[in-house]
Symmetry: C2
Subunit: 420 residues, 2 copies
C-alpha cells in the first residue's frame, strides 16, 4: 500500500510539529501552526495544487479544473469542491484529529495526478487554522473566517495572555486585517467534504473502517444545582433527609433511561461536585453538568421536556430546590442528501457495505454547511479514543478511506460530466 504509506508518513511527520516539546500541541497562529502550514503547503504543491494562506491563517491549496476541450462548448464555469479539515490540535493531542482530513485529499489528488486523471471541477483543499477552541474560548475561527462568518464578538475573545483574536489577526496580517468575506458564492460550490476520525466506538463495534455521516447532532448543555440540607450521616433518619445526592442519583438513572429508550439520543452527566463532601455528612448540595445530543432537534427538545419533568417530580418529592443554567445550545446540522449519497456509493464500492452515522461532535462541516452542501466521512478510531496521544487509526482503515476518497472524486467527476 505505497499510497497509504505516503499518508501515514505525512501524518507522522506532521504529528511532530508542535509548540510543546514532548507532546503534540498546535494552537491558532502559533509558531508550530506556521511550520505545519509550510510543511503541508509543500505536499500540496507536490500534488499539483496552488497554495495560499488566507487572512485568518487557513492554508488553501487549489487545483484548477482540467482545460475544457474544444468539443466542450458549455459556457458554465466549473464549480469548486472543497475538501479539508483543521490543522490545529488540542493540548497533548493525537495526530489524526484534523490533519487526516487535510492530508487524505492531498494524497488522493497526488495519486490522481500520478494516474493522469484531471477533474472537471476545481478543488480547494483547506487546512483550517482553528477548530478546537484551545487558545480562545471560541472555536471554528478558521472555518468561520473562510465562510465570512467571523463576528466582532469572535474578534473580541481574549487568550490567557489577554491578546484578542483581532489583535492576533492584525499581527498575523501585518496590520492589514479586516473581517473576511465568504471565500465563495454558494452557487459556485459543489460542496464541502470532510474526512475525520470517528472519535467514537460505532465503527469499531460494527467492524468497519469507514462510515458516512447523516447529520451532526444538535447539543444542549446545562449546569444543574440541586440544594437540600446537609446533615449528620449517623443521626438523621432516612425519612427526615433532604439528600441532594440521592436526588441527583435518581435523576441520573432517569436521564439514562430516557436516553436509552430514545433511539440516537445521548445524555451524559460528566461532572459532579458534591458538597460538603465528607463521609459522615449528608450531601446538602450537588452541582453537575448535563449534555444532551441528537441528530434531530425535535427529538432532543422532546427529550429535554421529559428530563425537565423528571427533575421537577424528583425535586418536589424530595423537597429539593434545583436550578438550571443552559451553557450551550447548538442546532443539528443535516448533511446534504445528494453529496452524502455519492459518498455512500463510494463507501459501498470500496468497503462492500456502507453505514450511516450521526456525528455527536462538532466539526468544520458545521460552519461550512452555511456556505455549501456538506458530506462527512468517518474513519474508525481505536477504542473511540481522541484528544489523547494514544489516538489511533490503523493503516488498513486509512487505506480504505483513501480509496473511498479517490473513488468519490472520480464518481463526482462522472456525475458532474453527466450533469452538463
Amino acid at each position: 500500500m505505497p499510497l497509504t504509506d505516503s499518508l501515514v508518513q505525512k501524518l507522522v511527520v506532521l504529528g511532530r510539529v508542535t509548540d510543546e516539546p514532548g507532546k503534540l500541541t498546535r494552537t491558532f497562529l502559533s509558531p508550530a501552526m506556521k511550520r505545519a502550514n509550510a510543511l503541508v503547503a509543500a505536499w500540496m504543491k507536490d500534488a499539483g495544487l496552488k497554495v495560499r494562506v488566507d487572512s485568518v491563517g487557513n492554508l488553501i491549496g487549489r487545483l484548477e479544473a482540467r482545460q475544457r476541450s474544444s468539443l466542450n462548448t458549455s459556457h458554465l464555469e466549473p464549480k469548486t469542491l472543497i475538501l479539508g479539515s483543521h490543522l490545529d490540535t488540542v493540548r497533548d493531542a493525537g495526530k489524526f484529529d484534523g490533519p487526516l482530513g487535510v492530508l487524505l485529499p492531498v494524497v488522493a489528488l497526488a495519486e490522481l495526478k500520478r494516474r493522469g486523471i484531471a477533474l472537471p471541477f476545481h478543488v480547494e483543499v483547506i487546512g483550517f487554522s482553528e477548530e478546537e477552541g484551545v487558545r480562545f474560548a471560541s472555536a471554528y475561527l478558521g472555518s468561520k473566517g473562510y465562510c465570512g462568518k467571523l463576528t466582532a464578538a469572535d474578534l473580541a475573545m481574549r487568550d490567557a495572555e489577554g491578546i484578542s483574536v483581532g489583535d492576533a489577526l492584525r499581527k498575523f496580517t501585518n496590520g492589514k486585517f479586516s473581517l473576511p468575506e465568504p471565500a465563495h458564492k454558494r452557487s459556485d460550490l459543489l460542496g464541502y467534504v470532510e474526512a475525520h476520525i470517528e472519535q467514537g466506538p460505532v465503527l469499531e463495534a460494527e467492524k468497519l473502517s469507514v462510515g458516512v455521516v447523516s447529520a451532526i447532532a444538535g447539543q444542549s448543555r446545562f449546569k444543574l444545582t440541586w440544594t437540600g440540607q446537609a446533615g449528620h450521616a449517623g443521626t438523621t433518619p432516612m425519612n427526615l433527609r433532604r439528600d441532594a445526592l440521592a436526588g441527583v442519583a435518581e435523576f441520573a438513572v432517569g436521564v439514562e433511561a430516557i436516553a436509552r429508550r430514545t433511539p440516537g439520543l445521548v445524555a451524559t452527566i460528566g461532572s459532579v461536585i458534591v458538597s460538603p463532601g465528607a463521609a459522615n455528612v449528608i450531601p446538602g448540595q450537588v452541582v453537575h453538568t448535563l449534555d444532551v445530543r441528537h441528530a434531530r432537534d425535535s427529538v432532543r427538545r422532546a427529550a429535554l421536556m421529559q428530563i425537565g419533568r423528571l427533575a421537577t417530580r424528583i425535586a418536589d418529592e424530595r423537597r429539593l430546590t434545583r436550578r438550571w443554567q443552559r451553557t450551550q445550545e447548538n442546532g443539528a446540522v443535516g448533511c446534504a442528501p445528494k453529496l452524502t449519497a455519492t459518498l455512500a456509493r463510494s463507501v459501498q464500492a470500496v468497503q462492500g457495505k456502507s453505514i450511516s452515522l450521526v456525528s455527536g461532535a462538532g466539526h468544520d462541516a458545521v460552519v461550512l454547511s452555511s456556505l455549501a452542501p456538506v458530506a462527512l466521512l468517518f474513519v474508525r478510531t481505536r477504542d473511540g479514543l481522541s484528544h489523547h496521544p494514544d489516538e489511533f487509526t490503523s493503516a488498513r482503515d486509512l487505506d480504505v478511506a483513501l480509496r473511498v476518497m479517490i473513488d468519490f472524486l472520480e464518481r463526482l467527476a462522472a456525475e458532474n460530466l453527466d450533469n452538463r
Copy 2:
C-alpha cells in the same frame, strides 16, 4: 428559671475558653483545655465536689455519699454513679457538644446541695479531656484513660507537629505518666449517665425537649471505586457506554431503598469524586464513600449483604469493576436496660412523654460501657446542627434536661435505698 440561667451562663462562659481567637476550639491538653478544667473545677467545688485531674487530663469532681446513720447497719460500701461528657471540642465548634453533659450534673448537684438533699451513693462528674479526635487521629483518649483502655497504639499516635500522645502525656504529668488502670471496679459502679445534644432532627420533629437513647448504632464505613470507560459524550451511543457514574447512581438509588425499607438503618454516600469530570466526557471512574449504621449489628450486617449483592449485579450488568475498602467498623453498644428505664421514668415525669432514640454518633458512653451500665439522655438541637458555631439548644430544653437530671438522681437514690 434561675437554675437554668446558671446552666446557660456556665455554657456561655465556658464557650469563650478557646485556643483560637474568634472561634471555639479546645483540643486535648491544650492551654484552653487547662483553663477550661480550672473554670469547671471552681464550679464543681461550689457544688460541693472534691476535684482532681487524672493522668490523662480528665477533670473529676467527686461527691461522697451521705454519712450513713447509726440506724443503717449495712456493711455495703456505697456504689458510685458516674456522670459526664467531654470538655474538648472540634475546630470552630458550638458550645453545647460535650460541655452540656458536664455542666448539667454540676448544676443539678448544686441544686440538690441547696435543697439539703444528700445522695446515698457517691457521684463522680467527669469532664473527659478528649473525645472529638481532633488533635490526634484517635478519639476517646479521655474516657479510654479513665476506663483503663488506653493502648500502646493510642500512645503512638502523633499530632500534626509530630508529637505523640505518649509524649504529650509525659509532658502533662511531668514525666510521671504510665498507662492508667481503670478508675473503678465494675462492681463498685451504679452506672454512667451522659447527657448530650442529639445532633440530629428526631426530637425537633417530635416536638420534644429530651429523649432516652436505647443504643448507640454500630457503623461500617467503606470507600468504593467503580471503574468503567471514559469516552466522548457526543460520539458514544448509550448501549456502548461503560459509564461509572451511571452505575454509582443506580447503586445510590438502591442503597437508599434498602435503608428506607430497613427500620432504623441509615446509609449515606457523602463524598463522590468523578473522573475525569468534564461536561463532554463519560465518567470513567467514580470513588465514593458509603456509611451504614444501625442499633443492631445483625441488621447492619444483613443490609451490607444486600448492598453487596446490589453492587455485584450493577457492576456485572454494566461491565464495571468495583473495589471495596472497609475504612471503619464499630459494633453497636446497647444502653443498660435498668438504668435506661429509670432515666425514661424521669423523662416521663418531667416531660409527660418519653421517647426512645438510637444514637447515630459515638459518645464517651461507648467507651464507658466497657466499665459500667450506661444510659444516655439526648437534648434537642435546633436543625440537628452540631460541630458548628450555630449549634443551639434552647433554655427551655435545657430546663427540661436539668429537671430530668435532678429527678433521675432523686429516683436513683430512692431505688438505691429500696435495694438495701
